[in-house]
Every structure is written in C-alpha cells, then in structure tokens.
C-alpha cells in the first residue's frame, strides 16, 4: 500500500509539470490544446534517443524541453497565421507529431534500462549522501531521491511560472485568454503571445514526458494517448480542492491536482474489478465528475442564496408596510 502511495507521489510530481503546461494553454490562454498528446511523447522520444546516444541526461532533458516549445509554437502558428480553429490546429499537430516521434525514435519503443538517466544519477548521489549521513539518521528508502528532487524541481518551476505570469508579458498573456479585444486595443500582438504561450505550455509537457521516460525506463509511441485528459483532470481536481483565486494558488492547485489524480488512479486500480486497460475510462469518468459535480453544487448554493434573499426581502417589505 505504502509503495503505491510513494509511486503516486513520485509520478504525480512529474506529471504535475505536464499539468502546469495544460493549465497554461487551457486556463490562461483559454485554448484547448490537443498538441499535448503528441508533445509529451516528443519530449520522451528526444530525451530517450539522446541519452542512448550517450548525451548527459540533463542536457538531453533540456533539449526535450525546447523540442516541446517548437511543437507548441507550430500549433500556435497554425491557429494564428493559418486561421485554423484551435481544436483542429491541436489535433493536426498531434497527428503530425505521431509520425515525427516515430522518426525521432526510429522504432515504436526505446528502452533506457541500461542507460544512465537523471534518476539513476540522482539515486547514486542520494546513496553517497546517505552514507555520509549514516551516523545521524538511519538509511532512507532509495525512492526518496526521486520525491525530493522532483519536489524541488516542481517548486522551482511553480515559482518561475508565478513570477512570469505577473510580468508585463505575463499579464498580457493572461489578458489574451481573458479578453482578446481588450488586449489588442492596448497594443499587444495577440498572435505572438499565443505562439509564445502555446510554446511554453508544450515545453513543460515535453519536459514532463522526458522525465517520465527516464523514470519508467523507456519511451513509447503510445505513452501520450489521453495525456490532455489527464492534464485537464489534474487542473480541474486541483481547482475544486484548492481553489484558483490567485495565480499562486491556482498553480499550487494544479500540482496538488496532479498528485491527487495519481492517488485516485492508484486506489481505483487496487480494486480487482478494474484492469489496467480501464485507466482511460476511469480518467474520463473523473473528468466528467469533476466538471459536473461542482456545477451542481454551485446551482444548489445559488438557489439557497436566492431563496434566503427572497425571504429577507419579504421580511423587509412587511416591515415597511407596518
């Protein structure tokens, strides 16, 4: 049981980076970007191929990040310069990336088991650290290296993202998703901002893909299927639990949502009734529920508020009659 929680925490933190990317496109730009399914694999493929080619895992991961930026920027160009509908530009890019990812990998699966990855390096570093600290505390589980390093990375990314969204460019980016007519009238080039936003969004997604490939020990052409829905689930669950009043809170919500999503899935899979193949169905159900239930509650609350007000008005009017 505890291993399942550990596993959910680890992968949840890595997927949180992807979810932050989806948050950027889906919430900030108000652009439902399906490129994610492809760019996630692009990140994994680029990192896997470069690592098997002998490159340092950190450099390979950074290059994967930029590969994702490129993919997202192309989606942005299709939409802004090609005037293609947002959903369709994402779908087109997703399909195109399928072939591109196969070209990058050369085959449908690249194993990384015998390779030095970011995580094997981290585990080594952690082990030496543990040896030094041995006199102070008892040896910690090996998996802690992943949790701590990823927690650190996610926190750093969150802080940078929070800052970025409050810069002059960041504010303009947020206004694009909020009121495009307005930001145009304040001399912002919405096309450039959209390309930038989508690029950044997919860069995070690809970074997450590169890390997942190293974490799981392989890159696979099918690993991105349904990734956008997982990202959405994380964003929506997080917002429902943590709220999204300010940017700082909203990005925290996304991270917690990503971890919660992994935990929910891990618990669901513990029932013998479910098979691993049911995962996508479970994900879809989670998203549907987290989209509909809050709305239902909202309606209920509204009704209650209005009836309370009505009663108040009645009391007030009878009083004035007196």
């Amino acid at each position: 049981m505890l291993t399942a929680v550990y596993g959910s925490l680890e992968s949840g933190l890595i997927y949180a980076i992807m979810a932050l990317g989806v948050y950027l496109s889906f919430r900030i730009l108000d652009f439902p970007d399906l490129t994610v399914d492809g760019s996630f694999v692009t990140g994994a493929a680029v990192a896997a191929v470069l690592i098997t080619g002998g490159m340092h895992p950190i450099t390979a991961t950074v290059i994967a990040f930029f590969a994702g930026f490129l993919a997202g920027a192309v989606t942005g160009l299709l939409h802004t310069k090609g005037k293609i509908n947002p959903l369709l530009s994402g779908i087109l890019m997703m399909i195109a990336l399928y072939s591109i990812n196969l070209r990058i990998m050369g085959k449908s699966n690249v194993p990384l088991l015998q390779q030095e990855t970011l995580f094997s390096k981290l585990a080594d570093a952690w082990a030496t650290l543990d040896q030094i600290m041995l006199s102070v505390i008892s040896p910690s589980p090996k998996t802690w290296s992943v949790i701590f390093s990823m927690l650190l990375l996610v926190i750093v990314i969150k802080i940078i993202l929070d800052y970025f969204l409050k810069t002059e460019i960041g504010l303009a980016l947020r206004a694009v998703g909020d009121n495009e007519e307005m930001i145009k009238s304040f001399s912002a080039n919405t096309d450039t901002l959209k390309v930038l936003g989508l690029g950044l969004s997919n860069a995070f997604v690809a970074l997450s893909g590169a890390l997942i490939a190293q974490y799981n020990g392989f890159s696979d052409i099918g690993m991105g299927i349904g990734m956008i829905v997982i990202g959405l689930a994380s964003v929506i669950i997080g917002e429902a639990v943590v709220g999204s009043k300010t940017i700082v809170r909203a990005t925290l919500a996304v991270i917690i949502g990503a971890i919660l999503y992994r935990l929910i899935v891990a618990f669901a899979l513990r029932f013998n009734f479910f098979e691993t193949g049911d995962l996508k169905l479970i994900t879809a159900c989670i998203v549907v529920l987290s989209l509909t239930i809050p709305r239902y509650f909202e309606k209920y609350r509204e009704k209650k508020r209005k009836s309370a007000r009505k009663r108040w008005d009645q009391i007030a009017s009878t009083k004035t009659h007196l």
Binding site: K166, T167, E168, R174, A175, I183, F186, A188, T190
Partner: protein, 262 residues
C-alpha cells in the same frame, strides 16, 4: 493630424445582404479637436471608428496620422497612438485580472512589455493617484478582480485605462449607452475631465443629441455611410435638438426624393 481620405467600405459584397457602410468619407481631425458624431443605426459611425482603430481595413481610401500613412498598419501597432472605450462595459477590461493588473496592461500600451514585474510599488502609487481621479474609491480596491466591479465602475476604469497614457486620439463608441442615466452622467463628466486634463483629441459617437450638442467643438451627422451635416464650434453653440432634427429630416427627404426620382 488625423486624416481620412475618401474611405469606402462594403460589407457582404456581391451578396443579397450587401451593405455600403462607408461611402467616400473624408475627415480632417485637427489637433485638440473634440468631435461628436450622431446618426441613426447603420449610418456607419462604428465602422468609421473601427477603420481608424485598424480593426476593419477600408476597401478604398487612406488613413493618415501625423503625415504617416497607416492604412495598412495592423490594429495592435496603431493602438500605441489610439485609446478606445467600447460601448460594452465588459469589453475594455480583463475580468479575471485585478484593477492594478489591468492598469499595468494599459501602461504597457506605450512602453515595451518586458519580463519585468507588471505592478511595481512605484507604479502602484501612480495607479492609486490616477484611480483617485475617478472618485469611486477604486484606489482602495487595487487587488479586487475587475469582474467583481459594477458596469459603471468598469466603464470608468476603461476610460481611465484608455486615457492616462495620453493617446494621440481617443475613440469613444457610445461608451455611456449601456449604463443607467445616473452612471452615464458620471462617466460622461469623467470623460470631459480627462479630455481636458490630458488634452486629448477625441472622436465620440453618441445617440444622445443633447450630449452631441453640449460636448466638443465639432459635430458630425452621418447617414448611409456619408457625413451629411457638419457644425463648427460657432454653429454648434446655436444648435438645438429640434433644429438638428429638422436638419436630419431635410436631408432624409432629399435622399428619399432622389431615390424616387432615379
């Protein structure tokens, strides 16, 4: 300063719904002018402002600003010189951003946007000062989301955002029409105040003839894509609503007569 040279614009060309929105409009706006435009629905008033703002490109004719031909300059580049307030109070502000963040966006119109913080403490003080001009107490609600403000407050904020960076031209498209009379008066008096304070060259569309007569130094009446009547400051001083209506009816008759005769 701003010149429109023989602007021509047709919508839905070649279809049954073909509509000539602007039919050869010439306009020469002098520095410091405050022009009010009146006219019935579909007269081409909004189209005219949209062509100046670059939201719509003319089919024929040119737009010049300070001897620079900006006919084909995209909207966001022109916006550096042009402040706009729309009819819909929701159009001029970003609802999920706070008041100070909205002002920071407005500030970015004339300054290049960078990776520096949008709201610095220095700017916050400036924003507070500007907001206090509105007299609505918004300077104490800098961190409130604009979506929570009332229509009147949002429109007053839009007006401030459009003007405090001192654009070369201010375009007002019936910006009080969606407000209740009391709020409309507040926004209108603020409009007067800002135009005087920032010395703005302004073009204002209105449906309120009294406003058109009272405000500004020039009055234009538009009909069917043409400027059919113009009053200078002196003529305006003598204008009354009945006279304006007469003027309109006269031209209306002349137009329909011509249609009948042709």
């Amino acid at each position: 300063m701003l010149q429109l040279k023989h602007i021509y614009k047709v919508f839905n060309e070649g279809s049954l719904d073909e509509k000539v929105a602007l039919n050869g409009v010439d306009l020469d706006v002098k520095d410091g002018d405050f022009i009010t435009i009146i006219g019935s629905n579909g007269a081409g008033k909004s189209t005219l402002l949209n062509i100046i703002a670059g939201k719509i490109m003319p089919d024929d004719g040119e737009v010049w600003l300070n001897d620079i031909n900006m006919t084909s300059l995209p909207e966001h580049k022109r916006a550096k010189f042009i402040g706009r307030v729309f009819q819909n109070p929701l159009s001029g502000t970003a609802p999920s951003l706070t008041i100070e963040e909205n002002l920071a966006i407005a500030y970015g119109r004339v300054h290049k946007r960078t990776l520096g913080k949008g709201v610095t403490s220095k700017r916050r003080n400036e924003f507070k000062e500007q907001l206090s001009l509105l007299g609505l107490g918004l300077e104490n609600r800098l961190n409130a989301k604009v979506g929570l403000l009332s229509g009147g407050e949002r429109q007053a904020l839009s007006l401030l955002m459009a003007t405090f960076t001192k654009p070369k031209i201010l375009l007002l498209d019936e910006h009080t029409a969606a407000l209740d009379p009391a709020r409309a008066e507040v926004v209108l008096s603020l409009t007067k105040k800002f135009i005087e304070e920032f010395k703005l060259t302004t073009i204002m569309i209105t449906h309120n003839m009294q406003h058109a007569i009272d405000l500004g130094n020039r009055l234009l009446m538009m009909n069917r894509g043409k400027v059919i009547f113009e009053a200078s400051a002196d003529e305006k001083a003598k204008l009354t609503i009945p006279r304006l209506m007469d003027e309109f009816a006269k031209i209306q008759d002349a137009v329909s007569d011509r249609v009948l005769l042709s």
